[in-house]
Structures are given as C-alpha cells and as structure tokens.
Symmetry: C2
Subunit: 379 residues, 2 copies
C-alpha cells in the first residue's frame, strides 16, 4: 500500500509453486519471493547460504555492483567477510508476507485485481521458511549448505527445520525463538493494537497514497525500537541529554503534533522519532500486522518435540547465537534451542555474547558476530 | 475528568499553603491533598510514617473501619504488620497531580471555575514530595519518623530528600530512581504518545462523560503492565496458554474492536486487557500525562550532587529496596541510591531482592518486602 520503494536493480523474483499452500490452511496463487544474491553458485549447487531477515528489512542484505547502497548486513557479507562470497553463494530473501517484492497483504490478489489487505490468508513462520527454500529451488538448489537468520529470521531457521526436512546441512539461528514467549507476545500485541486503534487504519482499508495509520505505526515502531536495544546501552549512549540535532526534522514534526510542552525533550526521544519516521514511510501496516501475528503464533511444538523436529531436519552442524542483554528473545530461549539441537545429535555451538546492544546486537556489535559466524562456517 | 469515583469515607483532605508554588515555576491556588490514615499519632507527633504511592493508586493503601475495601498495600499496613499501626501513625497521600482527591489537571481551577486540563502548571516530583509533607504538617507533624514510597513513590522519597530537608528522620525508597533512565523515558514517552495520538484526547479537551482517549489509555496501560512485570514471571504464569475466562468481558469487547482473527488469542493478552479495562475507567488521561512527564524530568542532579542532597536531607537511617528482575527501575539504579546515601553518612541498608515479579514485586512478593521493611523499621 506504501508508495513503491525504488527497487534496487539487484532484486530478482522467484515464482513459488502455484498454488502455494500455507501452513494454516490458506493458499496463494501466482505468489513470488524477492531475493538478492552475492557470490557464485558452484557447479554442484552445493555452496548456497540462504539468509532470512528480521521483521522489517528487505532482501538487500549487502551492496553489489547492481545495487551499491549498503545493505542491512553489509559488513558481514562479501569477499573475505564472515559470510565469504568468495566461497559461498549467498541468497537473501524478503519474507513472504512482507512488502519489499515478496507476495504479502499489500500485493495484488490475482483473483480480484485488488490488493489482498485483510483477505490475505493467515501467514505462519513456516510459510516464510518454505517460500525461501522454494526460491532457492528455482535456482536448482535442492539442499543448502547453510540456512541463516537473525531475529524473526532466527525463528524462521527453527521453522525451516520443521517445514523443510533435509533442506540444509547446517543452520545458524541468531536471537530467534522456538516458541514466542508470553512477554514477546504481550509487546507485539500492544504494537498491533496501536496500529489497529489508529482510525486511519480503517480495518485495513487505508488509502493507497501513504495516508495510512502513520500515527499507530509510529508508536509500534518506537516500542519495537525500545525492545530491540537495552537499558544499559542507552544509559551510556543517551543518558539524560536533551534534544539533539539528530532527526531534527522528525522532532520538529513531533512537536507540531502536540500542545506546547508535551513533545519530546530528551535525546532518546529524538532517536525514537527518527527510527519511527524511517519506518512508517516504507513499511506496509497490514504486512506488519500479518508478520507480527505470525511470530506470536509460532511454536515448534506444533511439529512434535523439538528433538524430533531437529532429528528430521537433518542438520549436521548448527550455531545458535544469543545476546545476554536481549530481553525480547531472551538468552534462555537461545540456550534452549542449542540444547534441543544438541539432544537431537546435531553438532551444535552455542555462542552467548555479552554485547550490550540487546536484540539488535547482530546489526551493531559486528566484531562479536563476525567471529562467531566466521568460526562456525570455517567448521 | 473521569466520573468521580465514590470516595471511601476514610479519605480526608489537607489544604496546601495558598498559593502553593511549584518547582518548575507555576503556582496553585486553594490546592489540596487527599489522604488516609491508620494508627494513632502520639503526643509528641513523632511516630508518623508518610507513604507515597506509585503512579496510579489512590491514598487507600489499606482498609479501615471507615473504608473496608482492601487497599493497594493491605497486607503491609496494620496491627502487627510490617508497617505496624500499633506503633506508627501511617498516612498515605494521593500524589499532587493525580485524580483521587488531590489537586491535579482534572480539578477545577478556582480562577476559571473550569477544570485545569492542560492549563495546569508543569508538575515535578519535588512538588509531590512537598505537598505530601505539607499535608502532614496540617496534622501538626513537623518531622516524620519515616518517609516511604515504591515506584514513583520511591522517586518521591528521593525528591523529598532534596525538597524537604530535615522533614524525616528515616527514608525507605523502593524500586525508585534518582534520575529517570533513558530507557524508562523512552517507554513513558511512547505511553504518552499513545494517549495524545488518540483523536478522543482532543488536546486535553475531551468530554467529561468518560468518553476520553480510552483507546490510547488502554495501550499506555498495557505497555505499563508489561514493564511492571518480568519475562521470567510470565513464562511461568502464562506460557502459551490460549484465552482464559479471566477478563472475559474485556476480551469480548477487544474482539469486537478489530476484524476477525486480529484480536487476542493468548492468556497474556487476556490479562493485559483486564488490567487496561480497570485503569481506563478510573484514571484521568491528563493527570496521567502530567505525572508521567514529571517522572521523566526528575533528576536529583538539579539539586546538587546526590551526596550533598542526602547530607542536607538529614536522614539518619535509610532502606533502599531493589528487585533484580525490575527492568523499568533497574537494580543498578537502586544500588546507586544506596551508595549515594551511604556516602552521605546515612546508615543505609540495601535490600536486593530476587523476586521474579519485576517492578511490581512490592505489590506481589509480600514475604520478601515484609521482611525487609519490618526489619528496617524495627531498627
């Protein structure tokens, strides 16, 4: 529904099997997955790494000659980098249900010629996993060397184990979850409520010209931003500084929206405002609701015990990365994933990182993540 | 602005000095503080404990023959209880700026005959402290035995040290703060934004008949409820249970507000819904905004170094209580308060409690709090 973002030319599209049946029972016709690639697929098609994203990014994980803007994991992917494109063929997919080229609630329903909106069938994390794998299959890849994902992507890696047995030899799950905790569910339910309470949401029928529930999306994104970081990081980074020039335009607008004296006063509010401003102009609200709800509902237990799921998955090696300061996808959840994989006979490394950046550490604390992932991939 | 809650007959009112000058520069005319009392004031008027509350409660901390409904700290106050009314005269005040009988934005401005709303002058935590003390003075109490408060009340106790030097011999600060952290500021700013983004807020000019920004207040309270508890507690308490009969009516209403499939599905959402429902019908939205902003802006540094403030305060003994699982008013903040008091020569006990109930533990984990407070008051 958002104004289409100028797609970097590196984006390619994979047609999904038609119909594409969803885990919760619905189906999609003529669905597609947007992806980008780096490196070269070898003759045996055995060196592919499939990368899933967090809730909000596109498939643009790194720059390339065709698309020079830095990607969301720019410093992790490339020649000689932790995910080394001289050795691996790397493919990052935009999640099914998202709005950066993959089919989602903002896409046109071929049956009606209009956007799906709330007619989009219920999405599950399993569908994101399977759609990503089907995208790889369109390139002739029948088994991935490694499937990787942080945040929602870490959850997708767990879902991949259940939904695509034998689909990968190795797995890297970063700050994910094998079943959303009630705390994370509570936070996400409040975020969705903020969007749905905004009268401009209009039960999903907002207008196409960017005038959607921006106010609700702003609240949802600010709350997200809070849960992606940590109290300790912010104490050092912002302390009690007053408004800073960062995000000045966003703050000026925020000040206009409320009576004098009720707007932002602190640097941390400036930061939230700038983060929200970036988000509301690119992310479709209905897509946000579908992806958020899918995360709440994900539970590996729907597929049997975790040990059974991981035995069927067929991974030989796995890396589970958790961050001590992550209070959204807690370290104990990561420890559990590692323990379950180990119990299933997978050679599993558990990297417990002491980064202060919370859930978002994988985007920020690159030295620690580089070392963990580089070491694992090197075997 | 809310329908006036039937005031328990135990509530009494203290007139504040007129005018009552506020820390940020404004003043109030004919202002008052609502309070309740338990126990008997001795002849020397030296056995008084002044209790401040968290953000949302009234002065009804405990029941009494005149008001038999259980109070918000019922099990802590009474004959033989941790705050022993056979020994102490206990007085709990409704915070200045709140809406349960004390003067606040929902009160009538004597200059206009209409509710203040956003014409209420900016409120500071220092004003809550001083208004509480002035209420005690109306009973002839010139120095308290002990000043006590949890949450916002714990912050008020710190503000009391700065604003009322010599006003108490002992202090008990529970899960408070001597300067709001950027993390807490971020959370509260999102809560206020939810209220102010609700079109029914109408820049503070909502109608008087309960049709205020209920949707925004519901979001704010749910987010508050999340930050008052802990992930660990909820993992044990709710896990991934589906909707339960608790708060059934609130959930039915929530389901009506959104399209099918987008309402609550999990027990934890049921709980949030019930908590929000209780709150929105009793708490005035403008009062909420004023108190929330006052918390953000509180910083003991405005009065000098913490050590100087505590030296001037004149406390001989202090108890600082913190909860390890509290992520809103973190344990390190409590440790800092205790360290600052100790540095100022106050005999200070620091009780670091391992309760799993987070910030709200003082309302729930009564055995641990009872022991800490009983032990301190016994001396």
């Amino acid at each position: 529904m958002r104004k289409p973002v100028a797609q970097p030319t590196a984006v390619r599209y994979a047609a999904l099997p038609d119909p594409f049946r969803l885990w919760k029972g619905g189906e999609l016709r003529r669905a597609q997955v947007a992806y980008e690639c780096w490196g070269t697929l070898n003759k045996e098609r055995s060196n592919a790494i499939l990368l899933f994203t967090g809730l909000s990014p596109s498939a643009h994980a790194a720059s390339s000659p065709a698309s020079t803007e830095p990607g969301w994991w720019e410093k992790m992917i490339g020649p000689g980098r932790a995910i080394d494109t001289e050795q691996y063929f790397v493919m990052c997919v935009n999640s099914l249900g998202s709005c950066f080229g993959s089919t989602g609630p903002a896409s046109v329903n071929p049956a009606t010629g209009k956007a799906y909106r709330l007619d989009f069938p219920e999405l599950a994390v399993e569908d994101i996993a399977r759609a990503g794998f089907e995208a790889a299959r369109t390139l002739g890849i029948e088994q991935l060397d490694t499937v990787v994902g942080p945040s929602l992507g870490g959850m997708v890696v767990v879902a991949f184990a259940a939904a695509v047995p034998g689909g990968a030899r190795r797995a890297v799950s970063i700050s994910g979850s094998s079943a959303s905790s009630p705390f994370a569910i509570a936070l996400r339910s409040v975020q969705r409520e903020a969007v749905m309470s905004d009268p401009a949401w209009n039960k999903g029928q907002y207008s196409d010209n960017e005038r959607g529930p921006q106010s609700g999306m702003r609240i949802a994104r600010k709350l997200g931003t809070i849960t992606y970081r940590s109290s300790v990081e912010w104490a050092g980074r912002f302390a009690r500084q007053g408004i800073t020039p960062v995000g000045k335009r966003a703050v000026e607008q925020a000040l206009k929206r409320v009576p004098e004296g009720f707007g932002p006063r602190f640097a941390v509010e400036t930061y939230l405002e700038a983060q929200a401003e970036k988000f509301v102009h690119v992310f479709d609200p209905n897509c946000y609701l579908y992806l958020s709800r899918a995360m709440d509902c994900f539970d590996i237990a729907a597929h049997g015990t975790a040990e059974e799921v991981y035995r069927r998955a067929g991974f030989t090696h796995a890396l589970v990365v958790g961050v001590q300061s992550d209070f959204l996808f807690g370290i104990e959840e990561q420890r559990q994933i590692a323990a379950d994989m180990t119990a299933a006979g997978i050679h599993t490394r558990f990297a417990e990182l002491s980064s202060v950046e919370g859930h978002d550490a994988f985007l920020v604390d690159l030295p620690r993540f580089d070392a963990a992932i580089r070491g694992f991939l090197a075997g």
